[in-house]
Amino acid sequence: MKITFPYMGSPYMYEKLFSLLGHEVITPPRPSQRTINYGVKYSPEFACFPLKVILGTYLEALELGADTIVTSGGNGPCRAGYYGEAQKKILKNMGYDVEFIIFDEPKRDLKTFLENVKKIKVNNSWRQVIKTVKTVYDMAKSMDKVEKIIETKRAYECNKGEFTKAWHEITEEYRKIESSEDVKRVEKKAIERLNSIKICEVPEEEKIRIGIVGEIYVVMEPSINGNIEEVLNAYGAEVERSHYISEWIDFNLIPLPSYKEKEHQILKKGEEYIEIIIGGHAKQSVGAIIDFMERGFDGVIHLKPFGCLPELVSQSVIDKIMREYDYPILSLSVDEQMAIANVLTRIEAFLDVIKLKKHRKRIAR
């Protein structure tokens, strides 16, 4: 069994999970133009953009010899829930004989979930499985922690590119870990490394904080969203996302209420605008906007894959929020047609609006 998986954010966590359990892992290459071309070519035209890119990723992994694809399902009426099934069919029609292991929320279908776990577990003892899952979970938590530091401090680096370079090196260190102790050690070193990077501080009142919300794949995968976090950092703005993989695990995979608290709060904040879960992350996106606003962020960028129905709904809610609270939100549509020049112009103007607004407030005070 040669396992592969979708590429979203850093792939090393998934790679680690399967390799520690003794599987042969084919880590897919970072999504590139080739991945997108593959995906767009073999997916139905009307499918949403993440389905296309992920299909492209699978095709590249299959070329590298993978024969088993492990992925998560989705819930609600969002099409993401059918990605696995749709992609399975497409690949079958293309003549690939590939096994799909699709993890849905355990509470929905515990039997299938446990069957899937068994397929991954193979000969490992349960103790070993739990230890591995714990290690990988710690790794995800730790990497998200380090990445959050970078998203904040990179805005003020004196020499452009240092933090990004450090991040690439740090992820390679995480790639080598074997236990939770290793994670702690790597994290300590990583934070030391980041602290040694030269920072050109700006006065507190001139700092700009931007939240990024939207559909999880386009928010989490920089190669697809035009490296938006790096771009914002380069313009001197701090960034925080509404999605981190460790938080996704907390909410979707850990059956303990205390781990779900944050997500429930976010959902509650979205309640006023979208009462029910309409699929994807629409309600979370709206809730996260309110959350960022309450936490004093200066503005929010909303990313939606072209053709994503749930995020189209949140986009229309955004118009209302902007008017109601006079809060700057920029909605960007992401797909293979995205023109970088156009996006940069809008981000730059968006940050100008925010700066002027802050300036006006300061003068008024």
Partner: protein
């Protein structure tokens, strides 16, 4: 010696070069089509500027428009800024009470909302050019009229005809069928003007409440039929400023002036000699990863001065 500030707006369809003095008076302005050689065109226009204003000192240079980064680098610009901020800056100078700015250029259309004298919100067309100058250009060509006569002819229309304007290609087929029903050229043109404004309202305004004073600028503002269609749509007078087609360039010149005043620095402008330098742009496909980016290389007198187009920073960081 009196100081002047140069503003350059490199749009997809046209290139605008202006010079303003300390009081924002426009001393030089030019508007030429971008025929794909922006560097050469700007060089020529700068030479003209130098000819007309030989004894002025250059206080600062600003560059805006979709080609701003590259050209800003070549000229040694002091300010390189997006066209939304640039446009609003100029509009607020000429019409300080403006609340809503409609800006329609060759391939971009923008809506800028002003609140308390600063930009409060904006929108820009994203996936489609159906609400822009290129749309009108294309249709005028089809009907065999000059774009400059478009507005005048459209105003002579007696009846209204609705043209499907969602997509340039479908608008064309709709136009042909409406022509066959016997509608005149003028009526079709009027229909097109309304279709463009309808498109603009649907794609950019998206239900925002627009407040007067309304200002309409960009190359398309020359078209009085579009101005009229906007007035009918918003139910209010729409102002077309005197310098409607060079507002972006004026705005960026003003921003350059403010920046120089604020910092007290002297300009980084490489001088008019830049127009003597020979620029050459070449490109190659990078094979380092499957992204296969098209790397653009700019040479000045045979020496590489800038590289761009890579997604990873492999070349753009290696600027010499």
């Amino acid at each position: 010696m009196e100081k002047i500030y140069i503003g350059v707006d490199v749009g997809s369809v046209s290139i605008k070069v202006v010079a303003i003095d300390e009081n924002n008076e426009v001393l030089f302005n030019s508007y030429v089509r971008n025929v794909g050689q922006p560097i050469d065109t700007v060089k020529d226009e700068l030479a003209k500027l130098h000819n007309e204003l030989p004894d002025k000192e250059i206080g600062g240079v600003g560059v805006t428009g979709s080609g701003r980064q590259l050209l800003g680098y070549i000229l040694g610009a002091d300010v390189i800024k997006n066209e939304i901020t640039a446009h609003a800056t100029a509009t607020l100078h000429f019409h300080p009470d403006a609340s809503t700015i409609f800006e329609i250029g060759g391939q971009d259309s923008k809506l800028i909302i002003i609140n308390d004298g600063t930009i409060a919100d904006f929108a820009m067309n994203t996936v489609c050019a159906a609400g822009t100058g290129s749309f009108l250009d294309h249709q005028a060509q089809r009907l065999g009229i000059k774009i400059e006569e478009f507005g005048e002819i459209a105003l002579t229309a007696k009846r209204d005809v609705r043209i499907a304007g969602r997509c340039t290609v479908f608008a064309e087929s709709d136009m042909i069928s409406k022509q066959q029903y016997g509608f005149s050229k003028a009526e079709i043109l009027k229909g097109l003007s309304k279709a463009l404004v309808r498109n603009y309202m649907n794609n950019l305004v998206r239900g925002r409440k627009l407040k007067p004073v309304f200002v309409f600028q960009g190359g398309v503002a020359a078209n009085i039929a579009i101005k009229k269609a906007f007035e009918e749509e918003v139910g209010h007078e729409v102002i077309v400023p005197k310098y409607y087609d060079i507002m972006g360039a004026i705005g960026i010149a003003m921003l350059a002036k403010d920046e120089m005043k604020r910092t007290g620095n002297s300009t980084k402008f490489k001088g008019f000699e830049v127009s003597e330098e020979k620029f050459e742009t070449t490109s190659f496909i990078c094979k380092a990863c499957p992204n296969e980016c098209e790397i653009i290389q700019i040479k000045a007198n045979g020496k590489v001065i800038a590289m761009t187009g890579d997604r990873c920073g492999r070349y753009s960081n290696s600027v010499i």
